[in-house]
């Protein structure tokens, strides 16, 4: 009797654990099968090579995701250009320069920054960052790719800082001591020994930050203007994959080609973030093994 109860609990917990795998596969499967009907009418070539996304055209609707891919790529790269140096600098400061008291204060600050909802950051993009950009560059409207990049950088920072700091913290003490004993200065030790030793962890941190930026919806939806055209520069309004889904899924009737095509966009988005996460996962895993 007791044995049976134990077995049942074990089984129950096992299936509970397995559920996570089911959810992940389920997400992929549902996106995949819901987007299939779209490709009965849209050729894969058009989907991946056309820059024209205009499903509601009266003449001929077109479904090309290139301008969305470029938009997503632009805001993400822009965000990384800002967030990576800033994040690594902050992480290096926290792990090697700051004393214990400063670290105690800095930790909650970064947690608070991570806790601000994306919709609030997007709102600030409209009311705060947008007007500043408009003024600095002398353009009528500050809702563009640059705005999105700045905001996404702020959102990616907590991830990059905390994981990079962990990576720097787990560099063996002997590395630092050896470097100092050989006469290197503290600064040289940080830049020439610790950061290179923690490089794979820092890389993984940046990849995770990138994954977050690629998939972020509300911020780019609110702050980038969302003009559905091929962007020519950072001061152009862009419409990312996430914001296209957010804008159009609410208006489109269920079970139309347009509806299925949006799931196609979602599938592409899922695959990109999945790949980014896998790469960071593999790098992080390798690195952990190496240090031990």
């Amino acid at each position: 009797m007791r044995e049976l109860k134990e077995r049942m609990i074990h089984c129950l917990l096992f299936f509970n654990g397995l559920l996570v795998v089911v959810v992940l596969i389920g997400i992929f499967a549902l996106l995949f099968f819901t987007s299939i009907p779209a490709f009965k009418e849209i050729s894969l070539k058009e989907f991946f090579t056309s820059t024209n996304w205009n499903p509601t055209s009266y003449v001929k609707s077109s479904y090309g995701i290139v301008s969305m891919l470029v938009s997503t790529f632009m805001v993400t790269i822009g965000a990384l250009i800002i967030a990576v140096p800033l994040g690594i600098g902050t992480a290096a400061y926290l792990s090697d320069v700051a004393n214990a008291r400063v670290r105690e204060i800095a930790k909650p600050i970064i947690e608070i920054l991570a806790g601000i909802p994306s919709v609030v950051i997007g709102f600030l993009g409209i009311v705060l960052v947008g007007p500043i950009i408009a003024k600095v560059f002398g353009i009528p409207n500050g809702l563009n790719a640059l705005n999105g990049a700045v905001l996404l950088a702020i959102m990616a920072l907590p991830t990059i800082i905390s994981i990079s700091e962990d990576a720097l913290g787990s560099v063996p003490k002997s590395f630092t001591e050896a470097s100092l004993a050989l006469g290197a200065s503290h600064w040289q030790t940080v830049t020439k020994v610790k950061i290179p030793a923690a490089m794979s962890g820092i890389f993984a941190a940046c990849m995770l930050g990138m994954g977050r930026a690629v998939g972020e919806t509300m911020t780019v939806l609110m702050a980038t203007g969302c003009a559905p055209a091929m962007p020519r520069g950072f001061l152009d309004s862009v419409r990312t994959m996430t914001s296209t889904i957010a804008i159009e899924l609410g208006e489109v009737p269920y079970y139309t080609t347009h509806y299925y095509a949006l799931f196609g966009v979602g599938l592409v988005l899922f695959i990109i973030t999945f790949a980014v996460n896998m790469v960071s996962d593999i790098v992080l895993h390798k690195y952990q093994v190496k240090v031990r």
Binding site: L18, P117, F123
Partner: protein
Amino acid sequence: MNKNISEKTGFSILRLCMAIVVIFLLVILFDIISKGIGKVNWEFLTQPPRRGMTEGGIFPAIVGTFLVTLITALLAVPMGMGCAIYLNEYAKDNKTTRLIRMSIRNLSGVPSIVYGLFGVVLFVQLMHLGTCILAAGLTLGLMTLPWTITASEEALKNVPQSYRDGALALGATKWKAIRTNVLPYAVPGMLTGTILGLARAAGETAPILFTGAAFFLPFLPRSVFDQFMALPYHLYIMATQHHAISQVRPIAYATALVLITLIFSMNLAAIVLRYHLRKLKKE
């Protein structure tokens, strides 16, 4: 000498990085608090919106966010704890376990809008729930799951192995040992991490856009099968979709302030809870 100068400049740059991050946060908080505080009063918190949402309060949005977070918790907390118990107490280091762990890490990286798409197909259409609190809550629950699992497992790891061994040596079964000697010590940590995850879910907008959040409802939801207003969605509407955007800007600021106050107080509650439960345990 040269080395000294480069060291000083280098460290100054690192300090500057930290300072910029702090300034980002201060500017964000200052802007929202200074421009939102004037509008927040008792009436704003307890009245529904009036006159095409240009006046009145945000009471239905607060209730909606509360209800949807409750559903999220009902799904994500027990399942997250169960999965964490399995991984930390039962699972052997084999392929299945590694697959589960890999799935958890990947799920936490899935974009929130993709959860929204998943919710539309699974809960709204296949399960015929329609757009409602339940569908939105379940969608958010799945999104929160990886966070609650990670937090719960962290808490379980902090319970010393000797606690388990002691119970097992006295003849307790595995489950009994977990229930009496592991869980009581892990629950505070589990709760803390879970509340932090729920706070994040409460601020999410993308997953509820198509699964149940409504632009405006003149009444409170009466069951979990009704649509609802939610604070983050309300802020989105007020910031971008309203017909008189400049007129409702103060309301948008005040909504943002209420939203971040709610989320920070959940975070604070988690920290206070952890502190008290720890004290209780020591006595």
